[in-house]
């Protein structure tokens, strides 16, 4: 665990433990892939200097959020991340859709940030410190459990994180913003940025030890709501990126459910799914972007059979779809399996059945998408298309390789996830370096 500055109850500080590492890794991987991808995807656009600045700022913000050691630092990076992402969603400002989507995102996300800030203020009032370790110690007093202020503060935080993570019913910005953004940005937004909300939930879920029971139940109800909304709505979509956006909501539901169980196994499984989903969804949005780049359309009925013309993109897209559908041999299967394992371990049979039902529903629409893009005869009015440029392919190949490699040999990542799961639940060693010096 890396702590800077070493003894810092009163300073702004960074704490990087295994949990943070497990979030930083996908952020950097997807960040790298989408930067490579952007070089040709964005080549027709203007204002590229501000594009890459904003992109870097967003990645910086995300890394800052997951390594912050106190609420001040956390909120600072949170806003860096959010503001740069508003600008990126609305980057193609000459068209109406991105501007509207960006504005909607701005309004909802700022409301979330404001609520979060109020929550932080109340917690400061109760604990007298903004440092995570300090708060963990201060809220350990049993009498605080029934303190209405603390409960209010935590509700604010849940809503703040929930909006960013797109947990239903706070998800409504996502299906507009993710499709409207340029595709490399969509893959960062859906792949990793929404996970910072999950990180927040996980971190504070564990920091406020006495409130375990409330958190767990609230989270699991929200989780099921989220996965049903995501999956059922995704079935109805005709826009490929919108479908992927709804599928992200469903996936967040799975992760939230895993966190809500709160055992080492379930949290490691959830973290593993965070990592895997980053790879898969990053890949899918990039592939959808490559199709859009070639045809100018995101409508599935127009894109029918295009996989037969753009073979390489089509194959990469299929890998992503099969991975996210949880097909064994690819990475999504491993983490979904571990979530099922963890939940059966805690004898949550009903919940497991609901979870499996959701996996099934999702397979239906992924497969139908695969069928329409890859197997149908191309439409007669499909414009002549060429294979995507090399740098776009390169970005996708990075992620696709990881999807396959993790699926075939998940051992290393599973043991890392287990370390992260242990670290997440081990408050003692999280608190020690801060208070020790």
């Amino acid at each position: 665990m890396l702590v800077y500055p070493a003894s810092s109850l009163l300073h702004s500080s960074f704490i990087v433990d295994m949990v943070s590492v497990f979030f930083i890794l996908p952020i950097l991987l997807v960040g790298l892939a989408s930067s490579i991808y952007s070089t040709s995807y964005m080549s027709r656009d203007t204002g590229l200097n501000s594009y890459y600045t904003l992109l870097s700022a967003m990645i910086l913000g995300m890394i800052g959020v997951v390594s912050a050691g106190d609420f001040f630092t956390f909120f600072l990076f949170w806003e860096i991340m959010s503001i740069s992402s508003y600008a990126l969603v609305a980057f193609r400002k000459d068209r109406w859709e991105p501007v509207e989507a960006g504005f909607k995102y701005l309004v909802m996300s700022s409301a979330g940030s404001a609520l979060m800030l109020s929550g932080i203020a109340i917690i400061y009032g109760i604990a007298g410190t903004l440092n995570f370790a300090g708060i963990a110690l201060a809220t350990r007093t049993p009498t605080l459990v029934s303190d209405p202020w603390l409960i209010l503060a935590i509700s604010f935080l849940i809503v703040g994180f929930g909006i960013k993570a797109a947990i239903a019913p706070m998800h409504t910005w996502l299906p507009d913003a993710h499709p409207a953004a340029p595709s490399p940005i969509s893959s960062l937004l859906s792949g990793v940025m929404i996970k910072t909300g999950v990180y927040g939930l996980l971190r504070f879920y564990i920091l406020f030890q006495p409130l375990y029971a409330y958190w767990g139940m609230t989270l699991s109800i929200l989780a099921f709501f989220t996965m049903f909304i995501g999956n059922l709505t995704a079935m109805l979509q005709t826009d490929v990126k919108r479908l992927l956006a709804y599928s992200s909501i469903a996936q967040i539901g799975y992760v939230t459910f895993a966190l809500s169980i709160g055992t080492v196994q379930s949290i490691s499984a959830g973290l593993l799914h965070v990592f895997n989903h980053a790879m898969m969804k990053g890949l899918l949005f990039m592939a959808a972007g490559a199709l859009y780049h070639a045809t100018g359309s995101r409508d599935i009925s127009i894109l029918e059979g295009i996989g037969r013309r753009m073979k390489l993109t089509g194959v990469l897209f299929s890998i992503g779809l099969l991975a996210i559908a949880g097909i064994p041999g690819l990475n999504g299967f491993i983490s979904e399996l571990l979530i099922i394992f963890a939940s059966i371990r805690c004898e949550l049979y009903l919940q497991t059945a609901i979870l499996i039902t959701n996996f099934l529903i999702s397979v239906a629409y992924y497969l139908r998408l695969l069928q329409r893009i890859m197997l149908r005869e191309p439409r007669s009015d499909l414009p002549e298309v060429e294979e995507a440029p090399a740098s776009m392919i390169a970005g996708m190949v990075i992620l696709a390789t990881l999807c396959v490699a993790i699926g075939v040999y998940p051992g290393l990542l599973i043991s890392m996830a287990e370390l992260a799961g242990r670290a997440a639940l081990d408050i003692g060693s999280y608190v020690a370096p801060i208070l020790g010096g």
């Binding site: 064994p328 041999g329 299967f333 394992f341 099934l360 397979v363 239906a364 069928q371």
Partner: protein, 499 residues
């Protein structure tokens, strides 16, 4: 550590699939020979170690205690060798067939054979796996390529049917996965042998055993398509490209029974003992249903699909009766059905290729135009009906001997209900199968010469040779089945006597 033999037989088809796909553009039609060479190599490896059995194990995810292992023993030898041999000869048969189906589109050959190799590797991996998670992974690997093969090169409403096939079997697989998870938490291991040993020594409450066993069996029965869970089968098998039908029906669905015998029966013997009679009745109904539906079909491939349901019912009856002899009979039926049904599906492919139709009412009198095909088709149907000296005869004989043994076993004397069920099954099964088989032969190959038959003649030798190989195998094994029985029976004895 033992030599990596079996892992090669599974991994080489998987790893060479991309190569085959890329070479498909260059070699076009001839890429089939490459696939044939690869599969011949796998088959040779499997047959080479079939005599004594073989086991390999490799670490995979040490943290969870999962490993990848491949095991060839008396139970997996018939399944693995059947899959390997069928897929090898059908790779040859596919070449002229696909030429007829897609013409000269070189890219189609590449994707077809790449998917074909993956599909075969999935089946081989499933029957060789030693770990439940590994088993599940290969079990699903069978599904994806076969789904794409049907959706892309099938007939009729192929996309809808492929989708239906996928959903049915995927739901089945997920139910299976749920039971695997439960087994894992009960025993703390996913190794098949480990689970078996743990369950034997620990002992679990009977209600829990029933729950897990039902989930596991349902998972397999969907793939097998027994009555009630069979809805997808007639569609998928009839509309798949014919070489794939010739793998789906003879090789793939029977693998479900491998799962039941290796896992469900090994893990939960008590469940089978208690529910043996209801399962036998279910098997009886499956046989009757499949046979009657086969009788009423006019589409040759649909007829064969329903006949597969009926044949799977035979195997079900053998397993449900729980005696060493009857289970041995089931495994012989798997092999015999595999050889004969593959022959028959390939015959129906020849009909599509030559006469341009698979409607029985439009065919007739083909015997004079294609005598060799006619003889092979007759051998195929006689094999299904269990006429000596074909292998099917031994399968049926053993199943019925075994069931009568179970009838007589209870100490209180004769078990009347069981006796009635057994007699009904024996008589109706044989009559129905011989009935639809011979009647079909008569309608397709004899009677007066139809318009479709006038244009037809013997197919190219590449289509005919695979049929002859399989038909000859069915006869040789029928005359000399002892080789098989010696390999298979020790394992089944171990399985039944240990419970």
């Amino acid at each position: 550590m033992s030599l990596p033999i079996l892992i090669q037989s599974v991994l080489i088809p998987i790893l060479s699939a991309p190569l085959v796909y890329m070479l498909g553009r260059k070699l076009s039609y001839n890429v089939g020979w490459l696939a044939f060479a690869i599969l011949s190599y796998s088959t040779a490896l499997i047959l080479a170690v079939s005599g004594a059995g073989y086991i390999e194990s490799y670490p995979w995810i040490p943290g969870m205690g999962w490993s990848i292992g491949f095991k060839l023993d008396g139970l997996s030898i018939p399944f693995a060798s059947n899959v390997a041999i069928l897929s090898t000869v059908i790779a040859i048969y596919s070449m002229p067939y696909m030429k007829h189906r897609v013409g000269d589109e070189p890219e189609d050959y590449g994707s077809y054979y790449a998917l074909y190799l993956l599909y075969v590797a999935g089946m081989l991996g499933t029957v060789l796996a030693t770990d439940l998670i590994e088993f599940y992974i290969f079990y699903e690997l069978m599904l994806i390529p076969s789904y794409i093969l049907i959706a892309r090169w099938g007939y009729g409403e192929r996309e809808r049917i492929a989708f239906m096939y996928f959903l049915w079997t995927h739901v089945g697989a997920l139910i299976l996965l749920a039971s695997i998870t439960l087994v894992y938490w009960i025993t703390g291991t996913t190794s098949i042998e480990g689970v078996k040993a743990m369950l034997r020594s620990v002992g679990i409450p009977f209600t829990l055993e029933v729950g897990v066993a039902v989930a596991m069996i349902i998972g397999f029965l969907v793939k097998i398509a027994v009555l009630g869970l069979h809805i997808w089968l007639p569609h998928a098998h009839a509309e798949a490209p014919t070489p794939i039908s010739a793998l789906l029906s003879p090789a793939m669905i029977g693998i479900g029974w491998y799962g039941v015998i290796r896992m469900a029966l090994g893990f939960f013997p008590r469940f089978f003992q208690v529910y043996s009679l209801p399962l036998a009745v279910w098997a009886f109904l499956t046989i009757i249903y499949g046979g009657l539906m086969a009788l009423s079909q006019d589409d040759m491939k649909r007829l064969l699909a329903y006949s597969s349901i009926s044949q799977m019912g035979y195997m079900f009856f053998g397993v449900a009766n729980l005696s060493i002899v009857s289970i041995l009979g089931s495994i012989l039926i798997y092999l015999s059905h595999g050889l004969c049904k593959a022959v028959l599906f390939m015959v129906s492919g020849i009909l599509i290729h030559e006469a341009g139709t698979r409607r029985i009412s439009e065919l007739g009198g083909l015997a004079s135009r294609m005598p060799i095909t006619t003889i092979v088709a007759i051998i195929g149907f006689l094999g299904l009906a269990g006429v000596p000296p074909l292998l099917g005869f031994w399968g049926e004989l053993y199943i019925f001997l075994g069931s009568i043994y179970t009838v007589l076993k209870p100490i209180g004397g004769l078990d009347t209900i069981r006796f009635i069920v057994s007699i009904l099954t024996v008589t109706s099964a044989v009559t129905l199968t011989a009935g639809y088989g011979l009647w079909t032969v008569k309608r397709v190959f004899f009677e007066e010469i139809s318009k479709a038959a006038e244009e037809s003649h013997e197919p190219p030798s590449l289509m005919l040779a695979p049929l002859l190989v399989l038909a000859v195998l069915a006869i040789i094994l029928g005359i000399y089945p002892t080789i098989l029985m010696n390999i298979v029976s020790p394992v089944i004895e171990g399985l039944i006597l240990a419970s």
